[in-house]
């Protein structure tokens, strides 16, 4: 009785197995394109033939509108807007990913532990995350950053603390579901440690929704950094910062609207890029 069991002839395993999650919908590719544009701008900032971001061209102040010398015009201090936007991309694309990575690692680890161990630890962590989430974030930003000072590190920390509970909730909910899977029981039966089960058996199966959420968080963090800059508690001047650029020039919006609008457009496009990527990933995650 050696029937060769139910063998389905199927295509050989795809080599790019780990990359499967990166196959996207059209919207996703548009998102990738937008993000790639800003990443390229940020990377190439030092070699692009532009004025230095903090160099003042006082002569241009007479006519700050876009011209051959300054393609996007200059701001109130005579600094080249194009250059500040490009260098500003550097700022946001450094701070946002680091902050989101911090939030993701902290949130995912705590979520795994709470969902897998449950009990008192879960209750305590969940209540703490509820408290953080119920706080108006802007107020929280203002309290912390005015108290401890506005530096890149403090911004990363404050964003980590406020975004981690969102990732925590997602990962905890997924862990609660995945821990009941039979392969987790099988791992327990061969005597795997809790850490192994959380990181090797559970986490990889939660990666789809986590990646999608990370993209959304990147978008929201871009906005948050812009808001912080606009409130004057972002990166200290003269660091080129999109939010700060709006803050410095919004008083002149009726006279020279381009000074404030151009950095706003920069923020919006980057946020849209991240959101489109998230949507593209989510569709794929759902339909396999």
């Amino acid at each position: 009785m050696t029937d060769i069991a139910d063998i389905v002839p199927i295509a050989p395993p795809t080599p790019a197995r780990g990359l499967r999650v990166l196959r996207l919908t059209t919207a996703g590719y548009v998102g990738v394109g937008i993000i790639a544009f800003w990443v390229a701008a940020a990377l190439l900032a030092p070699v692009l033939p532009m004025a230095a971001p903090n160099a003042s061209d006082l002569g241009a102040l007479a006519n700050p509108l876009p011209s051959a010398a300054h393609w996007l015009g200059v701001d109130l201090s005579g600094r080249d807007i194009l250059s500040r936007i490009v260098w500003g991309a550097r700022t946001v694309l450094t701070v946002a990913p680091i902050a989101v990575a911090g939030a993701t690692i902290a949130g995912a680890m705590l979520g795994l532990i709470a969902g897998y161990r449950r009990g008192t630890l879960d209750s305590v962590l969940s209540r703490i995350s509820d408290v953080i989430l119920s706080f108006p974030v802007i107020i929280l930003y203002m309290i912390i950053l005015t108290r401890f000072g506005a530096s890149a590190l403090n911004i990363v920390l404050v964003i980590t603390v406020t975004k981690a509970p969102i990732i925590y909730r997602l990962v905890r909910a997924m862990t609660l579901e995945l821990r009941e899977r039979e392969y987790v029981a099988a791992a327990q039966m061969r005597g795997e440690s809790g850490l192994y089960i959380m990181l090797v058996e559970i986490l990889p199966n939660a990666r789809g929704p986590i990646i999608v959420d990370v993209c959304l968080r990147l978008g929201y963090t871009t906005i948050a950094i812009g808001v912080l800059g606009f409130l004057g508690i972002g990166l200290p001047p003269p660091t080129p910062d999109w939010g700060g650029m709006v803050r410095e020039t919004y008083g002149m919006i009726s006279l020279y609207p381009h000074m404030a609008i151009i950095p706003c457009v920069a923020i919006s496009t980057l946020v849209i890029g991240f959101n489109l990527l998230a949507v593209g990933l989510r569709r794929k995650a759902r339909h396999g």
Binding site: D3, Y183, A185
Partner: protein
């Protein structure tokens, strides 16, 4: 008008596809259903049987369309109907019952309102009339206390009651055709038997035609007058039930029939004959016979290359078959091929012994107080070395709880579980020694969740070998190869991911993973219940072979009593967390029976005897209030002694050696015939 069939499909073809991708789901299918007739459509998953139902209802989504042929209902081409006419047809003249009753019921609406919607929508009744109709429909599907049921919500009903409510909803508009798409899959056997008997009575009373779609040959045999066998979207055989099941002329039909376990086959008998291979995409496109690549009778050039027509079977007028080899096939016999019979084994020493094992869940009640749910009570069981102990029970009988206690995935609250002189009843998996974990392994039920989708097959097996045996890397590799060979999978499967495997293959890997530990005891919790019959047979055979070869002690948990008959040396029947009967398989399957055993046996549809219709037992209300006193089966028992059974714990009768029955009846009063229904 009267002499034309109610429904006819004429050379029906259905395609699915998006963009350039197209796939034929149903090809050139012709059949008809006369008035008052029950027609069965049978086949494995993916054969296109549900597509046929959807096409009849014109429910094919945006991705599906009828690409050829026509469906006529009462002489009218369904394709020609306008949206309005279609609405009038659906529900009023053709009604459909789906597999999962919960997906057909609105969870936020009481049953009564949902039933009344049908006549109100079709404007055949006012509110009062609709209510009356709804009440009558509920009474007609034999639900207890229709008045009270009207105000209940779907989640307050048991699975069987939900399916009855859905059938009531389908019947309320008095349709002339009732389409049942796997209506009993997922229901317990006794409930299944009761639902099938109900449909059969209803159609006889009302003259409703029935299209019954199922992979369950036994169920088809219970209900249908004629049957069509579908393979890869093509009809391979069709005819009156007794001709198709009694004299199957297509090798696929024969394969299906022979892969079904029946009560006539015990474990010493010949093995089940599974159909090798699976339905492949390539065979869908084949010009000749789609079954050729799995067929034991295939002849090159004859079976492939040219289209094969449906031909009448000699001597049987309305019996047609699509097989060129058909006239040359030998006469059909049950399990006409197979290995040697397994010899009777001598008694063996016990390896696992449960004494008074119980499990109580503490729950916080709705009002903040604490209540407890008794999942298991007073279980006394012995597993002998190298034997198979089968645990049979319906959902909620506590059989999975027992498995989880054995494996340490949950702890018992009462009693002892003795393994090698150690009480492991309260020893959680985390506190068990490596040695103990290695000796006790489990095969899980769900092929979709038994393997981690993020890891290769090789990794899953290698890790188990490594964790439990601490051997070098090269040895682990070699062990994986051997394990795959053991479960009859090619060695290159080690590189594959679980989603590249079929359900049966995944279950084979799960068996290999359990064996990787080289265990003493394997607990298999419904290992085949999620698989197609033909695959089910292959996995059951594999388990049985391995159990003998590796001298495993096997705890085989199942709700399928016919399969248990095929697998088990000893059988234990659980009912609501209590042991009602236990003993050697031969004794349990022979009279005298416990009333519950008798009911289970009577519920088994047997394709070998398709005409046994009347035997279906009357399953009483399965949702009687939770009782901790008396016999757990009292509420459904036909032999119940009022004032005694529901109040007093039943005594243990011992009709034979090792054979125990918990019942208030005396040995002489116990039921002795399977067909003796109340």
């Amino acid at each position: 008008m009267a002499d034309q069939p109610l429904l006819s499909c004429e050379a029906l073809s259905v395609d699915y596809g998006t963009g350039d991708l197209r796939q034929r789901a149903v090809e050139d299918l012709s059949f008809h259903i006369d008035r008052g007739e029950a027609f069965g459509l049978v086949g494995e998953s993916g054969c296109g049987k549900s597509t046929v139902a959807l096409a009849i209802m014109r429910y094919l989504g945006r991705n599906g369309w009828v690409s050829g042929g026509a469906i006529r209902f009462d002489g009218t081409d369904i394709a020609s109907l306008s949206e309005g006419e279609l609405r009038a047809l659906r529900g009023a003249r053709v009604a459909m019952v789906y597999q999962d009753p919960l997906s057909s019921l609105n969870p936020v609406m009481p049953i009564g309102r949902q039933l009344m919607e049908v006549p109100l929508l079709h404007r055949t009744r006012n509110r009062e009339g609709a209510r009356e109709l709804a009440l009558r429909a509920l009474a007609e599907v034999e639900l207890p206390d229709p008045e009270a049921l009207m105000t209940r919500y779907p989640h307050q009903l048991s699975g069987g009651q939900q399916q009855r409510a859905v059938i009531a909803m389908a019947l309320i508009a008095e349709p002339s055709l009732l389409i049942l798409d796997e209506p009993t899959t997922g229901l317990d056997v006794t409930v299944e038997a009761a639902v099938l008997a109900l449909v059969d009575r209803l159609r006889r009373r009302r003259g409703t035609s029935v299209l019954f779609i199922s992979h369950n040959l036994g169920a088809i045999g219970r209900l249908c007058d004629r049957v069509g066998v579908l393979y890869a979207g093509r009809l391979v055989e069709q005819g009156p039930l007794h001709q198709v099941f009694g004299n199957p002329r297509h090798p696929y039909t024969r394969g299906l029939l022979n892969s079904v376990p029946s009560l006539g086959r015990d474990r010493r008998g010949r093995p089940l004959t599974p159909i090798g291979g699976t339905l492949s995409e390539a065979s869908r496109l084949a010009v000749g016979c789609a079954f050729a690549d799995r067929c034991p009778h295939v002849v090159d050039g004859l079976c492939t290359g040219q289209p094969i027509a449906l031909e009448p079977v000699a001597g049987e007028a309305s019996h047609i078959v699509r097989c060129v080899m058909s006239p040359r096939l030998p006469a059909f016999s049950w399990a006409d091929e197979g290995g040697p019979a397994i010899a009777e084994q001598p008694a063996a020493e016990p390896v696992l012994e449960a004494r008074g094992l119980g499990k109580r869940y503490e729950l916080s009640g709705p009002s903040g107080g604490r209540t407890s749910l008794e999942a298991l009570r007073g279980i006394d069981l012995v597993l002998e070395r190298g034997r198979t102990l089968a645990i049979v029970g319906e959902s909620g009988s506590g059989k999975s709880t027992f498995a989880r206690i054995v494996l340490g995935l949950t702890d018992a609250t009462e009693g002892e579980l003795d393994f090698r002189g150690q009480n492991i009843a309260r020893l959680a998996i985390g506190r068990r020694s490596r040695d103990l974990r290695q000796r006790l392994q489990m095969i899980f039920q769900n092929p979709d969740s038994t393997l981690n989708p993020s890891h290769t097959i090789g990794y899953a097996l290698e890790r188990t070998v490594g964790r439990l045996h601490r051997v070098g890397r090269a040895d682990r590799r070699a062990a994986v190869g051997k394990l795959l060979q053991l479960v009859q999978l090619p060695a290159n499967f080690a590189e594959r991911m679980p989603d590249e495997l079929s359900g049966g293959q995944r279950q084979r890997v799960a068996i290999a993973r359990a064996l990787a530990a080289a265990p003493e005891i394997v607990v298999a919790d419904e290992p085949v219940s999620a698989l197609d019959v033909s695959v089910q047979a292959a996995i059951a055979n594999l388990l049985k072979e391995l159990q003998v070869d590796q001298a495993l002690s096997l705890v085989f948990i199942s709700h399928d009593i016919a399969l248990v008959r095929y697998m088990a040396d000893h059988v234990a029947l659980f009912y609501r967390g209590r042991l009602v009967e236990v003993g050697p398989a031969d004794a349990v399957f022979a009279p005298p029976y416990h009333p519950y055993t008798q009911m289970l046996l009577a519920s088994v549809p047997d394709p070998a005897a398709p005409s046994q219709r009347a035997a279906a037992p009357e399953a009483g209300a399965a949702t009687a209030p939770e009782t901790t006193r008396g016999c757990p089966f009292a509420a459904r028992c036909a032999w119940r002694i009022d004032g005694l059974c529901a109040e007093v714990e039943p005594p243990i009768l011992e009709p034979g050696e090792e054979h125990r029955i918990a019942c208030h009846l005396t040995l002489q009063e116990l039921p002795r015939h399977i067909g003796q229904a109340a």
